[in-house]
Symmetry: C2
Subunit: 287 residues, 2 copies
Amino acid sequence: MVQLEAQSLEMRTPQATKTAILVIGGAEDKVHGREILHTFFARAGSTDAHIAIIPSASREPTIIGARYLSIFEEMGAKKVEVLDIRERQQCDEPNVQACLAACTGVFLTGGDQLRLCAVLADTPAMDIIRMRVQRGQLTLAGTSAGAAVMGHHMIAGGGSGESPNRALVDMAIGLGIIPDAIVDQHFHNRNRMGRLLSAVACHPDRLGIGIDEDTCAMVEKDGTLRVMGKGTVTIVDPGEMSYTNHADIGAAEPLSLHNLRVHILSYGDRYHLQKRIVLAPVQRLPQ
Amino acid sequence: MVQLEAQSLEMRTPQATKTAILVIGGAEDKVHGREILHTFFARAGSTDAHIAIIPSASREPTIIGARYLSIFEEMGAKKVEVLDIRERQQCDEPNVQACLAACTGVFLTGGDQLRLCAVLADTPAMDIIRMRVQRGQLTLAGTSAGAAVMGHHMIAGGGSGESPNRALVDMAIGLGIIPDAIVDQHFHNRNRMGRLLSAVACHPDRLGIGIDEDTCAMVEKDGTLRVMGKGTVTIVDPGEMSYTNHADIGAAEPLSLHNLRVHILSYGDRYHLQKRIVLAPVQRLPQ
């Protein structure tokens, strides 16, 4: 009920043409309401949208690229292209760069975040994406692995079912679109609180953001994050952390993290990434 | 390394004869160092201890009762009894009451917390235990189901792998030994952060305490909780919670909980249950 109202709210607001960054927790609805994908489509320009799909994270880039292509074409995008980048050298190609310089939306699919970074990080193609996102010329969305790469520090893999410990998470360097964030996805679905806590212990100057499946943290240019979709976005803010034993213990020993601030955000909740506060709830439409 | 030092610290302190409440996250070491069980034994009076084992939570009370009996006998307790209480009426029996009135330690085994409460809650036997714990005459330990019953509100069951939501946790009434706490056990091992958050959303006047396996939250008479064992104790404090949608949504809809205070505590960390603050770390012995 609330979802439908807020969806129509999103559709009716003038904001709907503003660019944004959509960080999606994986397994987003591709069949029914498709609210998250539709919001990406709207923010990329609706029927004026020129969308580039980058399926480089996936082991089956052809299949997954074609799937998103048909979704955005069906929605009525003016132009949709799949940039099937499998090697770093392709990021130097003029047609790739021309597409990224002209498009209004870029969609990073799921798969393996290490593969995605290996192909895209520190390439001219990535420079174009980053610059145009910063300038508000491009709406960027990433789902699953495409979400994981958003931070400077990236969770490359890890486990669950253990006390938080350094060995529970493998860290790598991401694409740095939202540098302050450490993003985890399929979050409560795959029980990843332990590994996000472990990641935050490694990098207590960052903000842990765990995004559930079929859930999106949409980040506006002013730093406001808004939650959309079926699940929750978990914020782990170590800004007031008074103590961690991270530097003093073995990799498999249990971590201490004292005085974390944690927010569980659900549909319509808003959070300011730089101010690190939850914003007052938006007035919802009467039932 | 740290564990051995702290163990010897515990053994050497005069505190070792003070009564305490040991809330154990299940699967405590019964074979090797047995630090948690040994601490219970020490706090119950060491070789002067008279220990009563209550295996009522278990489906195999004879086997589990005999196991703990042999452990505490082997440690050198003066007297160890198994109170194999299977029906509430047994709580009226003079020999049961006499044992509970005389013993210096009571150990509640694992099993099903609903069964344990069904047998013990609001019985004369439980009144004796509660009164003697409050007076500092009795050291009480509970592991797994025996830990779950410690709060007034009790997690009776639930799931994992979902966004926090009301349907993720089944609440019941516990034995109320530590009334302010909602205790969960096998905590990170069974990925129970989601259900503890859901429980805290139901009862935001309480404190969520998640205890990992082979880990103990030992509560002293002054309200200080100290962590012992291999894992972590997670404190979810909603004392400053600014918003929850708990009352406004359907049972399966995702919860919002804004401005939780969360502490991950590991070996030797201390927390004050009434003041709701982490206490300064105890000086550890030089390596």
